[in-house]
Amino acid sequence: MTSLLQAVAFDSWILHVLVWGPMAAMLHVLLEDEERSGQIAFGWTLALFVVSLGLWWSFTVGDPGFQMASSVPWIEAWGVHYALGIDGISLFMVLLSSFTAPIAILGSFRYITRRRKSFHALMLLLQTGIIGVFTALDLMLFYVFFELTLVPMYFIVGVWGGKRRIYAAVKFFLYTAVGSLLMLVGILYLYAATAGAGDGSFAYLDILGASLSMREQLWLFAAFALAFSIKVPLFPFHTWLPDAHVEAPTPGSVVLAAILLKMGTYGFLRFLLPFFPAASQHPAVVTVMLVLGTAGIVYAAWVAAVQPDAKKLVAYTSVAHMGFVVIGIFALTVTGIQGGLVVMISHGISTGALFLILGMLYERRHTRLTGEFGGLARVAPMLALALVITALASIGLPGTSGFVGEFLALLGTFETHPVTAVIATSGVIFAAYYMLPMVQRVLFNELDREENRSMPDLSRREIFILSPMVALMIVIGVAPTPILERMEPSVDAILERVHTTPPAEEPADS
């Protein structure tokens, strides 16, 4: 496999293809007629996913640096580069994204009934943004992709969403924009900081070389952290998420939960820790992040437990899960960060699947209120099986991907912050407290509603969508080591940097 990839110079083109392929697909979709748009989009994304699998073999295990990197000046006058590359952290984000895309698009076939062409075009545009975010090695490029994901999502929620779609879309947009624009100011500060003598640069590696005083680091940390915390979303910046999820159409929810939220935590790892190593281990900063992460875990679980709307419930569980990621990261231990990363992957798959299943239920019954269901296991055993496995993966049952992530994240946190970890561990109780009642209300109890009696089970397409996700949940749960070993060198490198880079001297004035 490796030699085959070498023969076709895989490393040199793969990232560019993954970034721009969806854009090309978008043009293709726009040129074709409405009827075929879904198939075209699916075909493209599936092909891109298959190609992206080559990354698994092409990636050199044990190399902490950026691989398959390339850099071309983009806006030379500003020192902006079109620079792409991946390390162990982005590798899995890229794979997860390209895995989710065809699934989300396939999941839209019945849900999206009007303006399909535009919908699929936007989904593909979104995909370009997503892959761009995870591969960009230039801050301006990153920012462009980061914002680029907002617009398609705004329209996906706003055009194809539910009753309060506009409110949700605007809330999502503005919330996220506040953070990201402040981050932009931070980025420009970094740019100015690299300027020193001569022109500044937005290149990731150049900015790593900039020396910042503690004071500067704290301010910049705040600017970046706000942007990413809103994206994560970290309590108390989370209220956009339930609204967005409830209103978004299924594929939108899937991508939102599976990928977009990860951009926040990815940003923590990719930018916050390496850029501001001193601020990242400042006790006040660490305390705030840990407290907010833990609060999110417990609080979101509580709120989730009393939601009558299943989608809202799952949305809140996302907040709880991402809380695990955040505490894992800010524990500043290898185990914690690795755990956080696995939670990211696992949450992407399991929550994506949950949203797909809820979407399937919605297609059948046009409601998401759990009280409207009940006893579905009798009429839809396949759906029941999928929902149960997914729910279990979501609450972190050992043997599923969720457990590996949460276990490692908590273990890593415990090493440095035992009390936080113990409080966060109570999240496993609350996870059962919110998820099982939902499963019960939907699948179990009496099949007492006439409408539900005629509900069809999963179609072949739906089985095709869900089975790879379910399989992955279990595979990752049983054998996560291949993933862990690919991520570890990069994580080590980040931690190494955090622990060994002192802040620059405070400037005399200011």
Partner: protein, 505 residues
Amino acid sequence: MTLDFSTPAHYLLALLPEIVLSVWGMVVLLAGVWRGDGATSAPRAGSGNLAVLAMVGVLAAAFANGWLYGLTPGQGSPMIAVDRFHLFANWIFLLAAMLALAISPAYVRRQRLQEGEFHALVLFATVGMMLMGGTRDLIVIFLALEVMSISAYVLSGFNRRDPKSAESGLKYFLLGAFSTGFLLYGIALVYGATGSTNLGLIALAIGSDAAVGGLLHVGIALLAIGFAFKVSAIPFHMWTPDVYEGAPSPVTAFMSASVKAAAFVAFARVFLVGFGGIPESWYAIGWWLAALTMVIANVIALAQTNVKRLLAYSSIAHAGYLLVAIVALNQNATAGLLFYLLVYTAMNIGAFAVILCVSGHGEERLGLHRYAGLGARHPALAVCLTIFLLSLAGFPGTGGFMGKIFILQGAAEAGLWTLSVIFVLTTVVSYYYYLRIAWYMWMREGAGSDEPDPVTVPLTMRFAMGAAVAVVIGLGIFPGGGVSFARAGAEGLLTAGALLLGAAP
């Protein structure tokens, strides 16, 4: 060829684009008279050609402007500045004129306006703008400003049958003249304090402490007020929403883009070259004007339901962003100013073009609710408007984003962090009202088919929109050329100033 301003003929060369355009304007005026106008009799077939004729003039001026790149300006600080700054500004005005001419014919014909005069006035206003950008003398700046303004007063009141247009013209005229008084008083005081109206000499006088302090400071403040009125900075913005709403849409499009641009170009030249030596005298004024303008304009815009008025407030808000560039007082910011003005011209006129198409026969469809379901009915128009709105909002992938980045870079270089934060936060506020138009277009169902939908998009309009989209997207994705070009322009401005101050390398 080197320009030597001791030879009077060389002034003619230096002013070639302006002269071409002036002459052409008269030609258009005469052609209009000769052909007879729609105001009194039924429009004749093919009378749209007058607009095309005017556009040819703009093209000719553009050629002349391109030719000027081959000239090297001589030493000293002559009245006419043949520097890159001037030439870049000319491109902006010519682009604005071109787009305005392209979007207006259908409207002019529908409303049976005097074509020849209308198009000629556009050209004359453009001449005034080009002169504003191209002179180093306060007297000429005043003259050019008046040439531009008087044309603009007339244009905004041009639709005499429409009381709104007349009201708009009156308000613009009264307040414009009122503010001109302040500007003029400022010029007089600066002249008295420094002994010259030439910016170069003023700068020298300031640099050598020969200026009279009190007079100078008050003069600078009054000049700032005069320009603040023209760029519609808060609190000197009161005329803007009314005038923009009342004026015929093509005129609003033209004014909102290029009048503002001209004012900013002159503002920049006067303050950066002339008063660059004593920024402390106007830094605080600029800072507060920028901050107030950004905050208040964006906030008021939230409450608007008339799209035209909304864009008027949006244009005020943009004045705030651009003021940041002036306050930053460095090359990057100035280049950002030029770049942003270019993009702004394209996106703003583009947006007004769509509004014009939607607004119907006599501009009766300006309410936000008219846009409901537009995306389904006229997807191409809606896509264009969405692109323009995203660019106005400053979204990545559009020129508006690159422009904002450019200005923010300048601000960052100058250490204007508070202003930068206000800048981005008010940008978030602006997202709301820009997106609101977008959500009406795409996310709401139309009112139904009970009334006919008289949207027509003539050929020239398509051309204008296409060009505007091309500029906005092109500069959004590959801004490199534009950036270097704008930097060269800023360099032209600032090195000239620095040379005079004796502080250049």
